[in-house]
């Protein structure tokens, strides 16, 4: 399927693999549950970021930390939820959030292994099953407001927090 573009509606069948962050100890594995994004994100303004892999150099060094650092700015611009997905499972994503000191549901770390959102409605990385590096903004009425993919998945430009902030 073609990637979502601004003006499209967020699909109705989007489920992620979620292990909620309930403590800061990455050696305590949590319990996975389905996160039904299509229903959870109704009425919310959501920034959804996709990365090729948890704990990988570019995602860790340039992509994720600015989203953590500038979470307040995103909230100030009316963002209700920031979520990060990758093709890793929910356990790995949860651990990645913990070692980056994300608490609770400040930023959701989820595995895109349930409904293959990146493959079906976004972009893949062209490296095995890995997700591409991209960002989307979904508005409260369920309309996609921003959707852009890195041409080179080792770079962070259009999917970075600065680019997203300037499009809110």
């Amino acid at each position: 399927m073609a990637p979502l573009k601004p003006g499209d509606k967020f699909p109705s069948d989007v489920v992620f693999d979620w292990v909620p962050i309930k403590n800061q100890d990455a050696t305590l594995a949590g319990t996975p549950q389905d996160f039904n994004a299509s229903s959870e994100w109704k009425g919310k303004r959501v920034v959804l970021v996709s990365v090729p892999g948890a704990f990988t150099p570019s995602c860790q060094a340039y992509h994720l930390p600015p989203y953590i650092d500038q979470l307040d700015k995103l909230k100030a611009k009316g963002v209700d939820q920031v979520a990060v997905i990758a093709s890793n499972d929910g356990w790995v994503m949860s651990a990645w959030g913990k070692v980056n000191r994300v608490e609770g549901t400040d930023i959701l770390f989820m595995g895109d292994t349930k409904s293959g959102f990146s493959k079906k409605h976004g972009w893949d990385a062209g490296m095995g099953d890995r997700n591409g590096r991209w960002a989307m903004v979904i508005d409260r009425d369920g309309t996609v407001k921003y959707a852009d993919n890195e041409q080179d998945p080792t770079k962070v430009t259009v999917s970075g927090v600065e680019a997203v902030l300037s499009n809110l």
């Binding site: 050696t27 948890a54 704990f55 990988t56 499972d89």
Partner: protein, 167 residues
């Protein structure tokens, strides 16, 4: 292929992906390289255990920690290398080692994404591409122990205690 059994030779061409642990910070990513197990383990006594996934409940709670705690007992029994593998990539394996406080090459955290040792020479988990939960011991290129958990949720024959008892 059939799983290795006691008396078999360790196969040629076994490679893992390895991002060595060079510091304790799981937010500092490692740099992956190829680990040629057939070559590295030729003249060594090696304990290799496979888990269905890094950071998962069974592996984390009951499988990995006893190996870390009993590492000196393994060394006392002449084990040169303790290594764990999973189908996660080497970055995830590196981070899993770090958050468990493993330093350097005390225990090698390797990714079984190169030559798929678990699928080719061990046991899969029967859950997607995940590795099974099993343990093997190699002594100078010969298999001296190889056992797979009947239920990958349990840790018995692949646990540190069971392996130590066979050394």
């Amino acid at each position: 292929m059939a799983p290795l059994k006691v008396g078999d030779s360790f196969p040629d061409g076994v490679k893992f992906e390895w991002a060595p642990i060079t510091d304790g910070d799981a937010t500092a990513c490692g740099i992956p390289q190829e680990y040629d197990a057939s070559k590295e383990w030729k003249d060594k006594k090696v304990v290799l255990f496979s888990v269905p996934g890094a950071f998962t409940p069974g592996c984390q709670a009951r499988h990995l920690p006893p190996y870390i705690e009993k590492l000196s007992e393994f060394k006392n029994k002449g084990v040169d290398v303790v290594a764990t593998i999973a189908s996660n990539d080497s970055w995830v394996m590196n981070a899993w080692g770090k958050v468990n406080g493993v330093k350097g090459d005390d225990i090698l955290f390797l990714s079984d994404t190169k030559t798929f040792f678990s699928r080719e020479h061990g046991w899969p988990a029967g859950m997607g591409d995940r590795n099974g939960r099993w343990a093997m011991v190699f002594d100078h290129g010969k298999v001296i122990y190889a056992e797979n958990e009947p239920s990958p949720k349990d840790v018995s024959v692949s646990g540190a205690e069971a392996v130590l008892a066979k050394l």
